[in-house]
């Protein structure tokens, strides 16, 4: 569950609690009065380029300090060194110690984090196995592909087993097989009780991970919650329902019948697709019931019924165009 401002919960019992957070970059307001709280699970952070996603993530990870407002992770300020125990951050940056190998990098980061030196080798092995880098551990970071470096960053983020993971564009540069593995990994981490905030432009993967989204636009939160709620709350744009029936001869009858209902704004027969009818409405649930009734009364079997623009991509596109 995601809370939307005003946040009412006490900060020390939620994984992430932001209240009225703003951040200036010189004269430019990067983040404007953002309030939200996250519960355990995966939450997607969506927004177009320059909407403030990375700024918010950097603030949550304690790499930036808010100009106004406050952020708490289980009641601890992430800017302080104590807060760094609680958050694992995989940033969007691609700068490494290029002369180190993947194994060296994780071992040294583990040492810097204060993990006991005896436990470091086994821990690093385990993490490399989890992210799928065990076989290439000795590769120098400057010779790694983008996907390998992405995995190294994620490995670094889960090194200290923090309760909150913040992943900025984790799928960037990873091949489809790798993305599938990463999705599985994140779902596994979610099931172990972690809270994960992930931002990405790979909306297919986001859809597989979660339906909970926080949408940013121009530094403000425009929506927080399920995608459908975002759509319902913010958009005047009607929903388009695609209906596929078995018999092409009955398509016109169906179109005429369904058009009589006041909730239906329009119908459309796509060119070259004789079996498909597109129905435009603001009340999809009511129209569904009408369609079922018409189908039963007139013996018109429905092969497929789909709401076309419920996906985050379409919602995003609509939101950010308007």
């Amino acid at each position: 569950m995601i809370g939307v401002s005003p946040v009412a919960t006490k900060p020390d019992i939620v994984p992430l609690w932001c209240k009225k957070v703003s951040k200036w970059h010189g004269n430019f307001l990067g983040l404007n009065d953002v309030s939200l709280e996250l519960r355990p699970g995966i939450t997607a952070l969506l927004g177009s380029n320059g909407s403030g996603k990375s700024t918010l993530m950097n603030l949550i990870a304690g790499q930036l300090y808010p100009d106004t407002g406050s952020i708490r992770i289980f009641g601890v300020d992430p800017w302080t060194w104590r807060g760094k125990h609680l958050v694992g951050y995989s940033p969007d940056l691609d700068y490494f110690y290029s002369s180190w190998s993947i194994n060296d990098f994780l071992m040294r980061m583990a040492c810097l984090a204060g993990i006991e030196s005896k436990k470091v080798p086994s821990l690093v092995n385990e993490i490399l196995d989890v992210v799928g880098l065990l076989s290439v551990r000795t590769t120098l970071l400057r010779r790694c592909s983008l996907g390998m470096r992405q995995r190294a960053k994620i490995a670094h983020a889960i090194l200290m087993d923090p309760p909150l993971l913040v992943l900025d564009e984790p799928f960037r540069g990873i091949d489809p097989v790798g993305r599938r593995d990463l999705v599985q990994l994140l779902l596994k981490l979610q099931s172990s009780g972690k809270t994960i905030l992930v931002s990405s432009h790979e909306l297919e993967e986001i859809e597989k991970l979660t339906s909970q989204v926080v949408m940013l636009r121009s530094g403000r939160v425009v929506s927080a919650g399920p995608v459908s709620r975002a759509r319902d709350r913010l958009l005047n744009k009607p929903v388009e329902i695609a209906l596929e029936i078995e018999s092409a001869e009955q398509i016109r009858f169906l179109a005429q019948t369904v058009f009589n209902y006041s909730e239906v704004l329009g119908v459309h027969l796509p060119e070259g697709k004789a079996h498909i009818l597109m129905v435009l409405t603001r009340n999809p649930e009511i129209v569904f019931s009408y369609l079922v009734k018409i189908s039963i009364e007139n013996n018109i079997p429905i092969r497929r019924l789909e709401v076309l623009d419920e996906a985050p991509a379409e919602v995003m596109e609509s939101l950010f165009q308007g």
């Binding site: 970059h25 950097n58 990870a61 304690g62 790499q63 930036l64 300090y65 300020d77 800017w79 302080t80 060194w81 104590r82 760094k84 125990h85 951050y89 940033p91 969007d92 940056l93 691609d94 700068y95 490494f96 110690y97 040294r108 980061m109 040492c111 810097l112 984090a113 204060g114 670094h156 200290m160």
Partner: protein
């Protein structure tokens, strides 16, 4: 920035852990082989070659130098004149004996004068005024400066240890390199100069080491907290240390090299050798100069810890 309010036991433990872990990871992993290092090495070789050529010609003494304000005769000529005069006055035993004693003592002094000549011409001017700041800069600025320039500060800032411990740990990690490079370079020059140089090294290695630590603190601060740190450090090295440090009057007291020279001046004065007339080096005792240098080092260390803790990582794509 939220400062640590008071020093709790937990903070102390984390601080020590942070220093230890930073030291363990970064000690002896300084970035050697970058362009500044090779330029510093090139300078050392160049100066060493010059020192060797002077040593080869056995010129580390006052024989061919002229007394101040006098044209024509050099010191060797002067002694020869005294000897010639003593021979001319051979019938007066007392005067002749005095002249012989003076010329003998002066000749001995000339022969043993390699130490002040080497110190004045190499240690005071070239080493302290030019080479030492550059050698210290080579490693000290790269300590955290390379992390800033390479945008890898994030990997340090994401660790659950106080930033002050990271700063101190990194400083302690580069310090051995700075001291080894500075003293090593001084030793190379001293060996090239022969006995005079080795004597100078034995006498002056402490102020050189102390100056290196002070420079390391100053340049490390610049690398950690200032943008374009290498440029600013070079400007400091050339303007403050080289230029101001050689100016008459009290302007030179702005340079770290001045206090190192004060210690050297006092040490050589204790042996009866006055390295430089005027210059104000005798105005500071060794203790005062040491306190000044340690104070400067500590001041920049504390300032660095404070400002380093305020750094926010912006726009690191």
């Amino acid at each position: 920035m939220i400062l640590e309010r008071g020093i709790s036991l937990e903070f102390l433990k984390s601080f020590i852990l942070g220093v230890k872990s930073t030291l363990a990871v970064h000690l002896f992993r300084a970035k050697v082989g970058h362009s500044l290092f090779w330029v510093s090495a090139g300078f050392l070789l160049l100066v060493a070659a010059v020192v060797v050529s002077v040593s080869f010609k056995n010129q580390w003494n006052y024989k061919t130098l002229k007394p101040r304000g006098q044209a024509g005769f050099n010191f060797k000529n002067s002694i020869e004149m005294i000897e010639a005069g003593s021979m001319a006055l051979g019938h007066n035993a007392g005067v002749s004996a005095v002249c012989s004693a003076v010329s003998g003592a002066s000749s001995g002094l000339l022969i043993e004068s390699g130490f002040p000549v080497f110190t004045k011409n190499v240690v005071f001017s070239v080493l302290l005024g030019f080479l030492l700041p550059l050698w210290c800069l080579t490693f000290a600025v790269e300590g955290l400066g390379s992390e800033r320039e390479g945008k890898t500060l994030f990997w340090l800032f994401s660790k659950p240890v106080p930033r002050s411990s990271i700063y101190v740990g990194k400083f302690l990690a580069i310090l051995p390199w700075v001291i080894i490079w500075s003293l090593g370079g001084f030793f190379v020059l001293a060996v090239c100069a022969g006995d005079s140089g080795i004597f100078a090294f034995k006498l002056f290695w402490q102020p050189i080491a102390l100056a290196s630590i002070t420079y390391a603190s100053v340049f490390f601060f610049m690398g950690a907290c200032l943008p374009r740190a290498s440029l600013i450090a070079l400007a400091y090295a050339f303007v403050v240390e080289t230029l101001l440090g050689s100016m008459p009057g009290s302007l030179k007291q702005l340079s770290v090299a001045f206090y190192a020279r004060c210690i050297m001046f006092q040490k050589s004065s204790d042996l009866g050798v006055v390295l430089e007339q005027g210059g104000g080096y005798g105005d500071f005792s060794q203790t005062m100069a040491i306190c000044f240098m340690l104070g400067i080092a500590l001041m920049f260390l504390v300032a660095g810890i404070f400002f380093f803790g305020k750094i926010e990582l912006r726009g690191q794509r």
